[in-house]
Amino acid sequence: MRTFIARRLLGAIPLVLGIATLIFFVVNLAPGDPTARFLNPNTSPEAQEQVRVNLGLDQPLPIRYVRWLGALAKGDLGDSFSHNRPVVDIIQELLPNTLLLSFSAIGLAFILGILLGILQAVRQYSLLDSIASMVGLFFYSMPSFWLALMMVLLFSYGANVWDWPIQFPASDVQDIEYAFFSPVEKVQDRLMHLTLPATSLALVLAAGIARFTRASMLDVIRQDFIRTARAKGLSEPVVIFRHALRNALIPVITLVGLYLPFLFSGTVFIETVFAWPGMGKLVVDSILERDYPVVMGGTLVFAVMVVVGNLVSDVLYAVVDPRIRHD
């Protein structure tokens, strides 16, 4: 098992390196001048040049690439053009918010999706199955930003207008008066702020997971060893939960890895809609501001998270499926 993880880790290194290279060249070869926003048309050529030198843009591309990689190896992502702070600091500040959002969303999505998928598979062809399939397909086809807006419309603004007992805040991670809250209130407040963004993000994923789980479960239920289990006289719950479920969930685990890119794409929208100070919003804003170091750093963090997520799902796969283990 340990060698398996080591092998996968080793394999991930070239992947991350490749991604870093891709990011660097996509960002730096693209047209558009990052210095433009610092200068007005009247700036003298010497001053313009000075800005370029300050930003390190006077060097040829290969040298900048090597420098950037060298700094990267030391954990240095450079300084932001627009914030005048190290990119690492900005990321350190915002990453926890994004992780909180993503982890709650993916957790919620898997719990909801798997439960619904199993229920549908066990009650195949029932009314519940068809309704859940249809509703699931709608959520599955929904742009998450629109779902988020609709959630805000209903559970924040609408709830306010119609005087519903619970009204969720529509923006930010915590209340303005957060600092003055008691610990219990603090937890409550964080949860309230988390609910809408996490649910909007989770529902779209959950719909996909439910569809996949249902298909996988139906596939397993048809297999020979399920017949063997029934022939032994095992009760239906035992057959389903001990014999079918684990086999059905093995392919679902790969979804963790597959869905991460979607999840992080989703956070970009959700963070924008809910003014959630996180990585997604940071990257979008930095692109609009041509803040290359932040764009590169932020994108790299996302990509690394996806790679790590894939790694985790591979390892989980090996843990759950004895056939994969190489010991």
Partner: protein, 337 residues
């Protein structure tokens, strides 16, 4: 032939499947009995309904699309299984009647250790504790001829060979000392040398435990090796029954005769094989009358209209064939072998 009390009596079993193109009458009025300690073989080509018959006994037919029709009866030791409550049925499965299947590689759960899969039935039906079940399970592995049973006990199925897995399937099936063992093509997926091992093992275990064995196969050689009596199936129906000796040496039904003539026998290489022409019709539309008519070398006009019930060939009621020629002539059909 000794008379043994009938343990399992199947009467007029009909199992149909709803498919897109119509109702497939996979098993269509099958009746037979298995006595204590007896080995009954069911033989036939693919699509003849032999496996569906086996699965119907324990009601392991996926439903929908499968359905056992009203009027069918499966008596186990006098008890009607088709009317048994689901809980009672589960008590019987794996305990009084157990089953082994064709593909040992896919018939065991790939993510559970084989030991666990042996224990399950023991703990469920015998109420053994975990440690009791383990020692019983290890003993079972030893009994079915697995070396290093302690070690194998903690293996996952993918670590073991097909022959080994089939032994484990047999161990699971035997764990609660069933009175009937249904073996559905137990050696088809295995190599000849391993097949011989498994057949020997089944015969030995049957001697030791005195259970009834219902062996389903397409291989007449396997039948010859282990069975006392044989049921030959074609088109969802029984076409002939009798002792193994009778069926293999004096087949009466044209289908059985054709089946035997199709086999490359030992020796004579210069004699052309005499295969049955054509192919098995679809279970969705069996021909009217005798279902073998289209392929039968001796079919007559009346065969297109109707087909007899199983007719006795002599006073012995165990020797039956579903063919007009048997009834009218009152003796064996002229052999085509």
């Amino acid at each position: 032939m000794t008379t043994r009390p009938d343990l399992l009596v199947v009467t007029d079993l009909r199992t149909h499947f709803t498919t897109e193109v119509g109702v497939a009458r996979a098993v269509d009025g099958v009746s037979f009995q298995v006595g204590m300690g007896e080995t009954l073989g069911i033989v036939g080509e693919s699509g003849c309904g032999k496996t569906v018959t086996a699965l119907s006994i324990l009601q392991l037919i996926p439903s929908p699309p499968g359905e056992i029709l009203k009027g069918s009866s499966i008596l186990f030791d006098g008890e009607e299984l088709l009317k048994a409550a689901p809980a009672r049925l589960r008590e019987i499965r794996g305990n009084d009647i157990s089953m082994i299947f064709q593909e040992p590689m896919t018939s065991l759960n790939p993510v559970l250790k084989v030991g666990h899969q042996i224990e399950e039935a023991l703990r469920l039906h015998r109420g053994l504790s975990k440690s009791e079940a383990r020692s019983a399970g290890v003993a079972l592995l030893a009994e079915v001829g697995i070396s290093d049973p302690e070690e194998r006990y903690d293996c996952y199925p993918h670590h073991l060979s097909g022959g080994m897995l089939q032994r484990i399937m047999i161990a699971i099936a035997l764990s609660c000392e069933p009175r009937v063992l249904i073996a559905d093509e137990p050696t088809t997926a295995l190599d000849v040398t391993v097949q011989a091992q498994i057949l020997d093992l089944l015969a030995k275990l049957q001697d030791r435990h005195g259970m009834a064995l219902l062996l389903i196969t397409h291989d007449l050689g396997v039948i010859a090796e282990v069975c006392d009596r044989v049921v030959v199936m074609y088109g969802g129906q029984i076409v002939e029954t009798g002792t193994t000796q009778d069926i293999l040496t004096r087949p009466e039904h044209p289908y059985t005769q054709g089946l035997l003539a199709s086999l490359p026998g030992s020796g004579d290489r210069d004699v052309r094989l005499n295969p049955i022409p054509g192919t098995v019709p679809s279970p969705v539309n069996w021909p009217a009358g005798c279902r073998f008519r289209d392929r039968c070398p001796v079919a007559e006009e009346r065969c297109a209209e109707s087909v007899p019930e199983l007719l006795p060939l002599s006073e012995e009621t165990t020797r039956l064939a579903r063919c007009w020629r048997v009834g009218s002539i009152g003796g064996p059909v002229e052999g085509s072998t």
